[in-house]
Amino acid sequence: MIVRTFAVARYLTADLSRSQRFLLPLLVHGAVLAVLFGGDPGPPPGPWAVSALVVYPTAAWLAVVVANTEAPEQRAVTIASAGGPARVTAATLLVAFAGGLVLAALSVLVPVVVSRYPYPPPVLLAGALAHVACAATGTALGLLVARPVVRRIGWSVCIGVAVVMATAVQPWLPPAGSAVEALVSGRLPIAQAALGVGLAVVAGVVSWAREIRTA
């Protein structure tokens, strides 16, 4: 099970790396980080509140790219070859979440490297957890608005943007909103990070169920 799931993940990564579609969310994210941390961002964790909220949509975008990278006919071959949709969905989730974690790691580490403020370990941990929570939430959202759940990319964009606009700015709303809220108020967003990862897994299950029903 595991070996062939990772084989699918490697295949999807190789396919994705040739598609260049992953570049756009990466560049947008990098541009935001450059603006955010380019001048004087101020002491942590303040600026991270913004970068964590940016990871949410860019991780979602990346997840849509990962889930849509194969043409539907090609996906049928991959599913049959992998012995069913479970491995393919799991691999899609793994690759999408790994991509989200890369964006999160960039967001956490860039200010540590470039800014002159001290980053004590507890603050660093809180920042990392908040970014993981937001990246995982983004992965979950991306999987829910991509194939096989939403087949038209136009709808993917509309629904994805609407959900991000509605949920990102609610400080009480777990996991993304409340993770940022916990970060700026000095608490560790452990529960939010766990919830985010849980949501991503649930989104994977939804995607798998949808793949079975509509294939």
């Binding site: 062939r4 084989a7 295949y11 396919d15 194969e70 043409a71 006919e73 071959v77 049959a80 070859s81």
Partner: protein, 271 residues
Amino acid sequence: MGVRLAGVRKSYRRRGEVLAGIDLELAPARPAVVVGGNGTGKSTLLRIAAGAGAPTAGSVTGRPGVVGFLPGRVPASSRMPARAYLRHMAAVHGTRQDAGDLLDELGFSGDLDAPVARLSTGNVQKILLAQALGCGAGLLVLDEPWSGLDAPAMAALDRLLAAAAATTALLVADHTGRAAALPGAAVFRLAHGVLAAEAAAPPEVRHTVVELWCPGDPAEVLRGLPGVRASWLGAGSLTVRVPADRGDGLLAAALARGCSVLGVRRDGARP
């Protein structure tokens, strides 16, 4: 070992019920061939048998862990070089087999390091056949495997499938008639969502076409000739078509009536 489809149904929201209760048993040495018009659900049935789709109702049991699947529509979007694609697909199948020999046998003539999307239709088909046939699968599901192939590759595929079918369960959708010629093949027609066993093709009846010159009324002459299936009246000649095994009798009768034989030739067409 055998793969069993029991009461398989598939409905789509827009198309309605495509498969309305399919029972099918797939086992080595008993290749199953599905024929049917366009849009009758052959590809849907094959996807479900291969595990790329799930039935709305019913079940597929006994599917082995490794399935070789060839889709009906050739995906043209892969940016991956053919060689890398085959390597990745072998890993996804859980095998390390090299498909190079298969490609040679099929007469692959493209560049293995070029993206799959840039290969010709026939070469893409050969790549996809290689990934399906070269994975040591316990079940092969092939949707129109001969499509897009040149004549030598078609003949090579005949040999490969005949060899594979002896040890592997095989389900083929095919309209060329080549799959029906596989040893032990059972042909099913898919119509209105159900499968019906198709009677074996009628044995080909060979005909002999005889051109005669006969004195007297042609209609009168025709009545005296045995076994005539068709006749044409030309300028100064009467052409008749008889089953090959009745050719001698016809010639004897014609000569006895005073006719001259202008020509005799073989006609391979079916009645």
